[in-house]
């Protein structure tokens, strides 16, 4: 809202209990910077968090916020935004939260295209329950509960989003601070559901999908002659079994948010002192 808002205004006075070196620090910083940079302030921002390490984010940020139940942050965010389209709504979750228990809501949130951003901290492991396979864990990723690996292919969140009709699909890396912030900013600015899968390494339990791994392997689409408005190109990239990409993979320029489609343009919190004017007409309908 005001130009004097700094990203630190979005910081709460609680010290994160994430492990030292956790990717979530970088992910959160980028989110706060993106919010400040897009002209928001804590009083017009609503952050919805899921469960798990990622879900703690609401506590470490300063804004209107709710820490939901496991996997259901997206419908909460949609409800917040529909009831007050003037708010900037950002939903944060993890790969377990969003692609396992919340997979159904993910598909429908994508279809619904509410104008909010969804940042998933993907570390390809369950961290807070101390190292079990997550839906994005590799097929041969050995954990206490999957000693020989999950033996099933990981969920491909980007492809799932594209197949579900997403209007904005992006991927970023928490340690690449500038690119991450820039990508989240684009998600915020998108008129519709801005989905960002963020590689946010777990330094304690995942020794495969590490900072080094992502740093060496991620291909930044900014370095290519890539048109994010080309759905066919996006299809090729999200289904590419050889490489993983960073940047905006797909954006529908014609995206119209749910609220615009349904004419939701003002906050619903103001109501009359008594029954609304014309309510007696409702009774007359039953003559």
């Amino acid at each position: 809202m005001s130009s004097q808002v700094r990203f630190t205004d979005f910081k709460s006075d609680k010290q994160p209990t994430w492990c030292p070196g956790c990717g979530d620090f970088g992910t959160m910083n980028g989110m706060m910077k993106a919010l400040a940079e897009t002209g928001n302030d804590p009083d017009n921002t609503f952050v919805v968090a899921g469960i798990g390490c990622s879900g703690k984010i609401g506590t470490y940020m300063h804004s209107y916020a709710i820490h939901g139940v496991h996997g259901r942050a997206l419908p909460v965010g949609a409800g917040v935004k529909m009831a007050n389209p003037e708010l900037e709504v950002m939903v944060a979750g993890g790969d377990g939260d969003g692609y396992s228990i919340g997979a159904g809501h993910f598909v429908h949130a994508v279809r619904r295209n509410v104008d909010m951003s969804y940042v998933v901290m993907d570390n390809r492991i369950y961290g807070l329950t101390k190292g079990q396979a997550s839906p994005t864990s590799r097929e041969d990723f050995e954990t206490a509960t999957t000693p020989e690996g999950p033996k099933q292919p990981p969920v491909n969140p980007l492809a799932l989003a594209l197949a579900s009709g997403a209007t904005f699909i992006a991927q970023s890396f928490s340690s690449d601070a500038l690119r991450h912030q820039e990508i989240v900013q684009k998600a915020i600015e998108h008129d519709g559901f801005g989905f960002v899968n963020v590689f946010s390494p777990c330094v304690t339990f995942n020794d495969v999908d590490t900072y080094d791994y992502f740093r060496d392997s991620l291909v930044d689409l900014a370095d290519e002659d890539y048109d994010p408005h080309d759905r066919e190109a996006a299809k090729d990239r999200v289904l590419d079994a050889e490489k993983e990409y960073m940047g905006v993979l797909y954006q529908d320029e014609d995206s119209v948010s749910y609220e615009s489609q349904h004419g939701l343009d003002s906050p619903m919190h103001e109501i009359d002192d008594g029954a609304p004017e014309g309510a007696m007409d409702l009774v007359r309908e039953f003559y």
């Binding site: 609680k14 300063h62 409800g79 529909m82 009831a83 906050p267 619903m268 609304p276 309510a279 039953f286």
Partner: protein, 582 residues
């Protein structure tokens, strides 16, 4: 000539039973007669027996009885299904030319009116209108002026054009004329008087939807489920006129979370479902209560457990509503007792939710949901609707509820347990809410003292409400009677009418109908004053009887019905008499 008249149309689902029944019910209502409808239906779209029953009287009626005077039978099974309720002189209208009805035998003592429904409908413009021909025939039987049907036909078919409306009017008159020409009037001795009264006719689900709009509900999210869907159907297309919005969610989990989100934005929000959906919503219910979010969750009960009998009546969810969810959280549970009370209890539910920042279960049931009943329009007097929003702070008053560091305290420890509430967007109000135990700022805590303080604070809201609000039961019958009959929910109507039957038999009772399940009235004094206490409810174990025994330390007698059918007034009178003398 009976004071009240009972009429039904029955056939297979897909035969247009519902709309035909509704057309007649509306016509009766518009002719100034009281109407009370009930439905027999199965959980399938086509085929299977289904019936729409209409009881009507110039007197007020509030229940169904075991009696049928005129039956339009579109299938032989319709007659079989209703044999118990048919009596000597009952009239059965049927189409003997219909293949399945050719060999039908009209039971002895009853009057069979063989009317070529399909043939006459075709003469009027199409076979599809055969049910309307039957309605015309029913008008002949009852001397009910056929002009009364016209406005209901217009209401039902108006969207399809004047020609369709005119054809239907013609079809009705064909039925009337056929009966008048072919049958002797003395066989048909029903006479339906009309009056000048203007009634409205609606069911419990519609009344809940209307109550929600009246109460300023702006956001509804739900997932289709029998018998709660009509709440969503009612709101869709109407709530928008008042600045609201309806979302059909992907499941009940999403529905309650969408509603929770909207409620956190400050909108009056609601979801409605039935038992299986309540199970799913229970996960989020705890978060709603702990985060102190005002939310109305409507449970239109049906037979359980599991998928149970989706189209049958039961009041079996009480224990779930009282105890559902892990841990301990305060809640309010309101149980409307009549269709009109569905409206008022919905308004009250929104007020309680916001005043005490607590989820409110509004528990209705299938009997209320599908029953259409006539009321004076004043029963829904919008001028009497009052809105209580509770402790909402704005940018000026927020300073009184901040720490020295200007941090807002959404879970401030207060004497009445109610904390200040800041709608998002309010400057200085930014705060965190969570399902984790938290301090006054909403921040996670495992501090033993704060844990106890926050639990006590949340519980204090219920205690405060107990003192401040009126939780009285509704009373009927003789307040000095020695025998006390207690019920909750939709049983009230049958119970009130049962009083007349009991009076005839010299049985004097006092009736308390309890619309508040939690908190609920303290009935200790009433129980002590009574010789016998009987608790009436539609479940097998007597869930409400259990809590009343617990409250009053008094053993009660129980009348439980759980075959899927609501109580009927005459039947209930017999049950009460037998239970009292047992």
């Amino acid at each position: 000539m009976p004071a009240d008249f009972n009429w039904a149309i029955g056939g297979e689902a897909g035969d247009g039973i519902d709309s035909t029944g509704k057309i007649f019910a509306q016509a009766l209502s518009r002719a100034g007669r009281h109407v009370f409808t009930s439905k027999d239906f199965a959980s399938r779209i086509r085929g299977g027996y289904t019936a729409y029953k209409v009881r009507t009287s110039v007197e007020d009626i509030q229940s169904v009885v075991d009696r049928l005077d005129v039956l339009i039978a579109l299938t032989p099974r319709t007659i079989e299904e209703n044999l118990d309720e048919l009596h000597e002189g009952s009239v059965i209208i049927y189409d003997g030319e219909r293949t399945t009805m050719q060999d039908v035998e009209i039971p002895e003592g009853m009057v069979g009116l063989n009317v070529p429904l399909k043939g006459l409908a075709e003469e009027a413009g199409g076979a599809i209108m055969r049910n309307v021909v039957a309605l015309g025939a029913a008008c002949a039987v009852t001397n009910f002026p056929i002009e009364n049907l016209d406005s209901s036909l217009k209401k039902r078919f108006g969207d399809k054009g004047q020609a369709i409306v005119d054809n239907n009017k013609k079809a009705a008159r064909k039925g009337l004329e056929y009966v008048e020409e072919e049958y002797d009037e003395e066989d048909l001795d029903y006479d339906l008087d009309t009056t000048d009264n203007d009634y409205v006719l609606l069911n419990g689900d519609e009344a809940i939807g209307m109550g929600a709009i009246a109460a300023g509900c702006k956001f509804y999210a739900g997932y289709p489920i029998t018998p709660a869907t009509d709440v969503m159907t009612y709101l869709t297309g109407r709530i928008e006129r008042f600045g609201g919005h309806v979302v059909q969610a992907e499941d009940e989990l999403a529905a309650i979370n969408l509603a929770l989100g909207a409620a956190r934005s400050g909108a009056r929000s609601m979801t409605a479902t039935s038992g299986p959906g309540i199970d799913l919503m229970t996960e989020t219910f705890g978060l709603v209560a702990t985060s102190e979010t005002p939310l109305v969750i409507c449970d239109v009960m049906r037979s359980g457990p599991s998928t149970g009998m989706p189209t049958k009546q039961e009041q079996g969810d009480l224990n779930t509503l009282l105890h559902g969810g892990h841990g301990e959280v305060p809640r309010f549970i309101l149980a409307p007792t009549t269709v009109a009370e569905c409206f008022w209890k919905t308004v009250e539910a929104f007020n309680l939710a916001e005043q005490y920042q607590t989820p409110v279960y509004l528990t209705s049931d299938l009997a209320l949901a599908v029953t259409e009943q006539t009321f004076e329009p004043d029963a829904f007097d919008m001028d009497a609707v009052e809105i209580e929003r509770g402790n909402v702070v704005d940018e000026e008053s927020i300073g009184d509820h901040q720490t020295e560091q200007e941090q807002f305290k959404p879970h401030e420890l207060t004497d009445d347990g109610v904390s200040p509430r800041a709608f998002p967007g309010t400057a200085g109000g930014a705060h965190m809410s969570t399902g984790l135990e938290h301090d006054e700022l909403g921040r996670r805590t495992e501090d033993t003292e704060m844990r106890v303080k926050q639990v006590d604070k949340r519980d204090r809201k219920v205690e405060t409400a107990r003192e401040r609000e009126d939780w009285s039961p509704r009373e009927f019958g003789n307040s000095d009677a020695e025998n006390l009959v207690v019920s909750w929910g939709s049983n009230e109507g049958a119970l009130v009418e049962a009083l007349a039957f009991l009076e005839e038999d010299g049985v004097d009772v006092r009736v308390l109908s309890v619309p508040y399940i939690f908190p609920r009235p303290d009935l200790s004094e009433e129980f002590e004053a009574a010789e016998e206490v009987v608790v009436v409810e539609c479940n097998a174990t007597g869930q409400f009887a259990d809590v009343l025994e617990h409250d009053t330390l008094t053993r009660v007698k129980r009348i439980n019905k759980y075959n899927g059918v609501r109580f009927k007034a005459d039947e209930l009178a017999t049950d009460i008499k037998e239970t009292l003398s047992a």
